[in-house]
Every structure is written in C-alpha cells, then in structure tokens.
Symmetry: D3
Subunit: 143 residues, 6 copies
C-alpha cells in the first residue's frame, strides 16, 4: 500500500477587518483598502484539511473522516463560525486577521489532534472568496 | 419577438448580526442562535437581478448588461460591499438585517434606476451561503 | 411587508436502481438503460426546499432556517442519507425510485411539519447530478 | 400523479460577436463594448432545458432523460458546439447573436422534437458566464 | 519548451458500502458508521487525471485530450459508472471500497494506457462529495 | 513566520482555434478535431495565479491582493478578454493557441511585474472548461 492524500472540507462564516491601531486611518485605508472598514465585513470561509498516509489494511482509510471532521469542528469551526476573527478568537489575539495568518494559526490548532488520531497533517487550504485562497504546508515549500 | 428574462450576478462581502436591542441576550440567542453573536459575523453574498422584456430589434438585448451591471454596482455593491449591514447602510437603518429584509430593500434601490434604463425588474435572488438564499418578486407570488 | 421566498439546501447520498420486477431484464435495460443495473448505483442528491411568506416583524424571517433545517434533517436526510431508496425507505415502498417520484414523496413528508412551524411549502428542487434535476410545486403549474 | 418539472443540462463552446454591419465601428463599440471585437470572442455555454408533465405510471418519468439528452445533442450541441454563432449556424443566420436571441432560436429547434417524444417544453435557461444568463418560457411570462 | 501539467475530469455514479464480512455488524457500524449500511449507498464521483510533459512543437499538446478522455472512459467510466463498486468491478474484487483504495486501483488501470499514448500519469484526484476527496501520486509524496 | 501560498482568480472570455496552416484541412481535423473549426470557437477561461512568500509582519500579507489583481488585469485580462487568441494577442503571435502554450506565455507576462511587487510567482492554473485545465510551475516539476 502506498501514500494517499485525503482532504476534508468544512466551512465557517466570520467577520473581520484588516486594521492596525498603530497606523492612521489614512494609512490603514491606503494599505488595506475597503478591508479596513472600521465596522467590519465578513466572509463565508471554506477550510480544506489534507492528511497523508498509507491506507490501513483494516479499514482502507488514511484517516477516518469522522475523526478528521470531528477535529475540524472542535478546533476550527467551533472557534471561528459566526465569530469576529479580531475580537472573539483567543488564538488570533494580537495578530493581523489576514487569510495567511489565519491559515498558519489554524494549522497550530489541529496538527497535534490529527497526530493523536494517527494522521499526518500536510496541507491547509483556506478559501476566503471564490476569487482568492491561501495554502499552507506547515512552512514547507513543495513548489 | 417574445418576452425573455435576463439575469446579472454581482457580489459583496458584508458583516451583520441578527439582534434586537429590545430583547434580552437570552431571547436573542434563543431566536437567532449564533447569528446573534454581538461582535458580528459575515458572508460572501451573491445578488442576482432579473429583468424581463422583449429583445430589442436594434441590439438583441432585453437590457444592456453594461447598464444593468452599472446600476447594481452603484446602488447595491457600493452600498454594501465590505460594509456592516447594521451600521453602515442608510437604507437598512432600523431594520432587522435578515436576508429577507435585505432583498426587499435592495429591490427598492434598483427598481427605479432599472426602469429609467428601459427595463422591468421582476426578481431578486440573494444568496447568503451555498445552503440558503431568498427570492423576491416585488411582493408578487408567481408560485 | 411583502411575500418573500426562502430556500434551504440539504444533501444525502443514496443508492437506487430503476427496475420493474414485472418486466424482463431486456425490457428494463431498454427503458432504464444503465440505471437498471441490478446491483444498484448511487448519487449525491441535493434537496432544496422553498417556503414562502411575509417576513415577520419580530424576526425579519419568513421561517427560522434552524426550524426548516431541522424538519429537513428529521424527515428527509435521516430517512434517505446512506440508504437504498428501493429497500430502506418506508415512504418509497412499492414506488419506482425515479427522481420525479422521490420529489413527490419528499413533499408529502415535509408539507405538514412546515405548516406546523408556520411556513408554507411551495417548491422542492431535487438535484441528482449536476446535469439533471426535478422541480415540484405540489402539483401546481406556475409555468 | 401530479405535474413535475425535469431539467437536463448540456454544454457547448462557441465563438460569436455582437456587431451590426449597418453601424459604424464607433457605434458598434458604443453599444456592444468589447463584445463587438471584430475578431470574435467566445464562451462555454450551458443550456438547461425544462420539460413538464405527470410522471408515467410505467416508468416514473416525465420524459426519459436519454431521449431528452439525445434531442438536445442532435438539435443544439451538434449545431453550436465549437462553432461560430454568427457564421456557422443556419438557424442564427441574419440574427444578432445575443444570448436572448439564441435562447429563442434554440426553443424553435427543440419544441417539436420534444413534443414528438411525448414531452412539453416549458423553459430554456442559457448561461453565458457565471455572471449572466437568460431564461425563456416560449414567450410566456410566469412572473 | 517546459514541463506543463494537464488535467481531464470525467465522472461516474456508483454504489458501494464500507463493510468487512469478518467483522460483526456492531464493529462495522462502529468503524464505518452509516457508510456500512448493508443495502448500499452511492455517490456522484468525479475523477481528475493529471498528465505531465513538455508541449509538443507539432500540436502544443502535452497529450491530446481526446486520447486521454478515451482512455479514462474505456478503463474507468465504463468499469465504474452505474455499477456497484463491491460487486460489479473486477479490479476491486476483495478490496475494501474506500475512496483511497479506489484511487490506487484506478491508477493501475490507466498508467500503462497513458504511457502508450505518450503521456506520463502523475496524479489522480478522486472526489466523492463536495466535502471530501483523495489525491494519489502513484505513491510519491510531493508534500 | 513561514511560507504561505496565495492565489488570485481572474477570468477572460476569448476565441481561438487549433489550426496549423502548413497542414491540410484533413490533417488539422484528424489531430485537433472540432477545435480546428476554421471559424473559431471560444471559452470562458479562468486564470489562477499563485505567489509564495512569508507573510509580512506589517500587513500579514504575502502580497497585497490589490497589487496582484492589478498585475493580472493589466497583463493578462486586458490582453486576452474578448479577444481572439490567434489574431489579437501580440505575445501569442506565431504560437499554437493550446491551453498549454497560453499558460507558458502568461507566465512570461507576469513573472517580472510580480517580482517588482515583491512577490514570487510559483504557479499558474488555466482552466478552459470545467472538464480540463493546465498547471504550469515555470517549468519546475513538483510532482
């Protein structure tokens, strides 16, 4: 049996803004544009988590998707769904709520739980709109 | 030539919450659930506007999509994109920011401009997530 | 306040076959083609349920989507998800498992519960593949 | 048994331009914008054809989708796929190649064959891009 | 000219179940959940096949998509469409019908025919639902 | 901070044909099939551009998507949207208008502008239809 990659999608709807309190309103607007609107805006985010491994002889699974989905719901969806990324999320405190930074922090929440479930997290894809998304491989650079 | 319906899609990303200040936090939570999160949440909204009419002999158009798109951008996208539906939008002031109410108010913004451009607005579809949307026919009930 | 239509999507994955035991294998194959494969095949079905009404002054809702989703999960998803439409579903017993018939029977399961929740069911859309779907208006013919 | 609507999707990729030879280049550009580019442009079109009827007691079908698909392939896809709508399509000769006009002409090609197959054509939806589409009900106005 | 990757999508609708005959019903249910339903369930599967190579000076192609599509239809779609993955598919006999295992076995069916057509198979993506898919690189681990 | 990949999608609608003037019509048809239709055909193309880098401490961005979008619009969309790939595009002159070749030439247009904006272009995905796309990593072979 050989290495296979399996991916699970979950989603959450959240508010955020891109804003630095140590910058003037003009500077925030110049850099972040309409994303700096002080009263927030929001998105339907889609999070894709990829785990790699050899399918088990017992189950044919790299990881049981019930387990992976449960981890994603507990550590990502519950923390972020219908929340304000700047105000309501402990693991984003003090961090600019860019999609890039959010992907890195989500990785930190689920890497260990996935390992405990017998899987190896290798990729997160975080889609903010149908026109933009980020991918994070734990800092690795496959290409 | 016979009646044809033409639809244009635009999108906007906005924050909102479902919350009544005259209700307790418990009552708000009971009715609106996680949509009542006091620090807001948000969505990628898709707005579909349908105009009906007979294709022009001159152009083959019911309405020029450049004109329809311009109307939607000026009256809907500019007003709602990267905004807070409860705080930033004059035409939503004092109104519960449900998808239903938002669709009705959007109709009011664009019905007249579309008429001035020679078209007849007959339907708005407002998609909040891939799992829910509302349709509004100006109060008419085609089915 | 004027009439608005609101739609909720849920999904279920099911097996079925199109097969009449009173027909020969040749006749079944001639009419139903590969859909008559005796060992079944299956689909990811998407069910869209539309309720119409006037938005409530209290909530801005035609119907609370939490309630609509709960009705759909109890009466449709629980009955059909990861099931065999021909063998496992009491309300489909003795009925050809075409998408058309399935839509009609789903309507019968949810019309009353939706009415009890204060809503009026007006449309079901049942998508079998990205290339085909049926719509059912309770037997009405809006067009 | 009650009336159900069934829809089949097919697609075709075609070139066209919006251009009137009796207008100047300036006038064409003013009205049709970049759609008037003299060397053509093109789209992936999706055509959705809806037939209504009562499901047959024998088959559970409003119309056999194999038959509907065959009609669409013979009369629409074969005529339009990888073609130039202005130059290669007899039934579009002398007609402005707008999406509206194309939908009307497609209706004329398939209404009779669908009737011969026992079905009643009630709607065509023709999608030009993910941001615009037209609907045609044979000239009827359901809303 | 430099290496380019080209991908073709095809689809098939199939029934399956996750079930081990050497396990009790309880054990099957505990591990495989509703996927173990004894009367089967099913999915609309999408298969994406990626071939890499340098575009030919003669054709601009890495591989002619007509050839790639033909290989996929002969070796994958014909074998799996409207079939039961556990009962009807020789190359899946005796193998747990997980998405992971199915991807590995599909690779074995098409690697050689693609090579004979002058291409190099480098990736299979097999989508079971919009919420989960597997990727297989022939056992390689690009990340 | 670690390496993140960010992707922006834009689209353009264009006409083209696959045709070699030094080949007979028969030979063109044999190799390119209906894509060789002499009067052209067309597509809605989607272009995805991926930039990698470490999120800036100042902005949380790998690259400001406003800048990336502007580069794509100036160098790709303006050059290709509502154009004929064979006739209207200087950087495609004399080159077979296959999706593979187009991806390679698009890379050449935007690699330098992205570098000047502080980013590193690592991948282009060019989608011609929902059934086929190419990926280009600047000639690199990540898998």
């Amino acid at each position: 049996m050989k290495t296979v990659y399996i991916t699970r999608r979950e989603h959450f709807n959240a508010a955020h803004k891109l804003w630095r309190p140590d910058w003037s309103e003009e500077k925030n607007d110049e850099v972040f544009g309409k994303c700096s609107n002080k009263n927030w805006h929001g998105h339907n985010f889609y999070i894709f988590v990829t785990v790699k491994g050899k399918p088990s002889d017992d189950t044919g699974f790299v990881i049981n998707l019930k387990d992976l989905s449960k981890i994603m719901k507990e550590h990502v969806v519950e923390a972020l769904d219908h929340k304000n990324l700047n105000l309501d999320v402990p693991f984003m405190a003090g961090i600019l709520a860019s999609t890039e930074n959010l992907a890195i922090k989500i990785w930190e929440q689920i890497e260990e739980p996935i390992k405990e479930a017998g899987g190896e997290l290798v990729k997160i894809k975080l889609e903010e709109t149908e026109n933009n998304y980020v991918e994070y491989f734990g800092g690795n650079e496959p290409f």
